[in-house]
């Protein structure tokens, strides 16, 4: 290793990594069975043939829930600096955060009423 020097060692490691990757690639080819036929690859629907391709666009109805989670999660960012000054400011900081949380809570209740948390 000393003879090779740092550049030589890096080169050996690089070549060994390439060889290992190729070995894994070809050993995978050797160990796998024959390729699946088209009927073997068909999705199971109880004996019926698929009529159309299953790649399709559908309504991800939980996206409103995901957006609301993101919005309220970001509100937490406000709480970190508040926690730093809470001891120094005392009761005023407590009241301010209470008001903030109440406003957030009203937002949650509104979203709930609008069925934003319904999965489907």
């Amino acid at each position: 290793m000393i003879l090779l020097g740092p550049l030589g060692v890096a080169l050996v490691v690089f070549v060994a990594a390439i060889l290992a990757a190729l070995l894994l690639r070809f050993s995978g080819d050797l160990s796998r069975g024959p390729a699946l036929t088209i009927p073997e690859r068909a999705p199971f629907a109880g004996g019926e043939e698929p009529l159309m391709h299953a790649w399709n666009r559908y309504h991800a109805r939980y996206y409103v829930m995901a957006l609301i989670f993101l919005a309220f999660d970001m509100e937490m960012v406000y709480m970190y600096p508040w926690a730093v000054v809470f001891v120094r400011e005392g009761g005023v900081a407590m009241v301010e955060m209470g008001m903030f949380i109440i406003v957030l809570l009203l937002g949650v209740l509104y979203a709930w009423r609008e069925r934003a948390f319904a999965w489907a």
Binding site: G33, E40, F44, G47, E48, L51, H53
Partner: protein, 440 residues
């Protein structure tokens, strides 16, 4: 012993993965295979090494069986369990099948062992290895066209746009499910259109067991309800069969909810329970109620209003919706036994399983009190599925309701609803077989 042989021996010792296609008269026998630890009934042919075809299979289902067969991985084999049915035309597509008639779990295990040890050759495919259509777009190099990638990927066209319930225009996927989908009754094929996992359209299903030569499909056993249409049958036999049928349904419903151990316990109860043993069902009722085993997935699902069911004679389904329709209420023998129909009010899937469990308890009590009383064959019988007549069965009257019932339902709820309805398409064929014999 080489590594390959060791692995083959271990694989042969494992429970045999079997995908079962149950035809006429084979439902209970196939279900009973769950009680044998040597056999593991799997939900897709991809997980099976043996395709078990049991009972009478209409010729119209031959192509579906070929598709199931070709989906199985190698090594694979088809086993035919006739149960008294004559071989249909479909059997010509399976030249390498093995006929089995007794010691079924042991025979299946032996076939599995021969397959993995290489003593039995794997069955070749039946269908051609080619795409239904080439994956090629409209461009000179196969690129472009409509859809996400253009062309027809894997030989199938892309889904088309359709209105969504939120006013959007999204892809609508047509999909046919059945006739051997494990959660559906054998022979039921649903023609669906899906937007995501929401059903936006359902065709009226066709009963494939009705349009075939029924005499060829005849099995060894005829249910006492079918016999009671034309001959006197012991009330105790009829009521015990009813209780067992309800418990068999419950075992299937629990398997559909992935509660397999509980399902096995109920199935064991269904095969062993006798008249007057309703107490053992009370503990089951408590377990199911206390653990909410079926409650969460069935409450409020598949609700059917009583107004849609009036006069249809749909048995436990109607009574779970608040209709006290029961042929037995008009029967003098049952009136002497103090029979009164049990009814629920909710009409959802949860009410239907509570209804069947309560009726199973009631039937066991009736069977214990009935002594040697016989039914009066009047051409109408209350089967576990509803009013059974010579000309129509409960399934005939229930099938047209499915499109309205499944509309706008999510796929999971639709499966739960179908399981809770306990459709039996084979009753039609069974009645026609008995009628044909009576005429002859």
């Amino acid at each position: 012993m080489g590594l390959k042989r060791t692995l083959a021996t271990l694989a042969a010792g494992a429970p045999t993965p079997v995908f079962a296609a149950a035809g006429l008269g084979a439902g209970a026998q196939v279900q009973d295979l769950r009680l044998h630890h040597q056999v593991r009934l799997v939900d897709t042919p991809s997980a099976a090494s043996i395709l078990l075809v049991a009972g009478g299979i209409p010729d119209s289902l031959a192509q579906s069986l070929s598709r199931l067969h070709d989906t199985m991985p190698h090594p694979r084999c088809t086993a035919w369990w006739p149960l008294g049915a004559l071989p249909g035309l479909w059997l010509a597509n399976f030249p390498h099948h093995v006929a089995i008639d007794h010691n079924i779990p042991e025979r299946l295990r032996a076939i599995h062992g021969e397959l993995v040890n290489g003593q039995r050759p794997s069955e070749p495919p039946m269908l051609a290895d080619e795409d239904p259509a080439p994956w090629r777009g409209i461009g000179p190099y196969g690129q472009g066209g409509t859809g996400m990638t253009g062309g027809t990927p894997y030989g199938r066209p892309m889904a088309e746009l359709g209105p969504d319930r939120d006013g959007l225009r999204l892809d609508v996927l047509p999909l046919n499910v059945g006739p051997f989908f494990p959660r559906f009754p054998a022979g039921l094929t649903l023609e669906l259109k899906l937007a995501g996992d929401v059903i936006v359209e359902t065709g009226i299903p066709v009963n494939l067991f009705r349009d075939s030569d029924q005499r060829n499909l005849r099995g060894d056993k005829i249910s006492p309800f079918t016999r009671a249409l034309s001959e006197p049958v012991l009330v105790s036999e009829l009521e015990l069969a009813r209780a067992r049928a309800h418990l068999r349904w419950l075992a299937n419903a629990l398997v559909a909810c992935e509660l397999r151990s509980l399902g096995l316990r109920v199935l064991r109860l269904a095969t062993t329970i006798g008249s007057g043993e309703g107490d053992s069902l009370h503990s089951l009722q408590r377990v199911l109620g206390w653990t909410q085993a079926l409650g969460w997935s069935t409450k409020g699902v598949g609700r059917v209003g009583a107004d849609k069911l009036v006069g249809l004679g749909l048995g436990p389904v109607a009574r779970a919706s608040g209709l006290a329709e029961d042929v037995r209420a008009e029967d003098g023998v049952y009136r002497d036994l103090g029979f009164e129909p049990i009814v629920q009010s909710e009409g959802d899937a949860a009410a239907r399983w509570r209804q069947r469990l309560a009726e199973a308890v009631q039937s066991l009590a009736l069977a214990a009190r009935a002594g040697d009383r016989l039914t009066d064959p009047g051409g109408v019988v209350e089967s576990p599925h509803g009013r059974l007549e010579r000309t129509t069965t409960p399934a005939d009257r229930l099938l047209p309701l499915l499109p309205g019932l499944l509309h706008e339902m999510e796929w999971g709820d639709a499966v739960t609803t179908l399981v809770s309805l306990d459709l039996n398409l084979q009753e039609t064929a069974a009645v026609e077989v008995v009628d044909a014999e009576a005429v002859a």
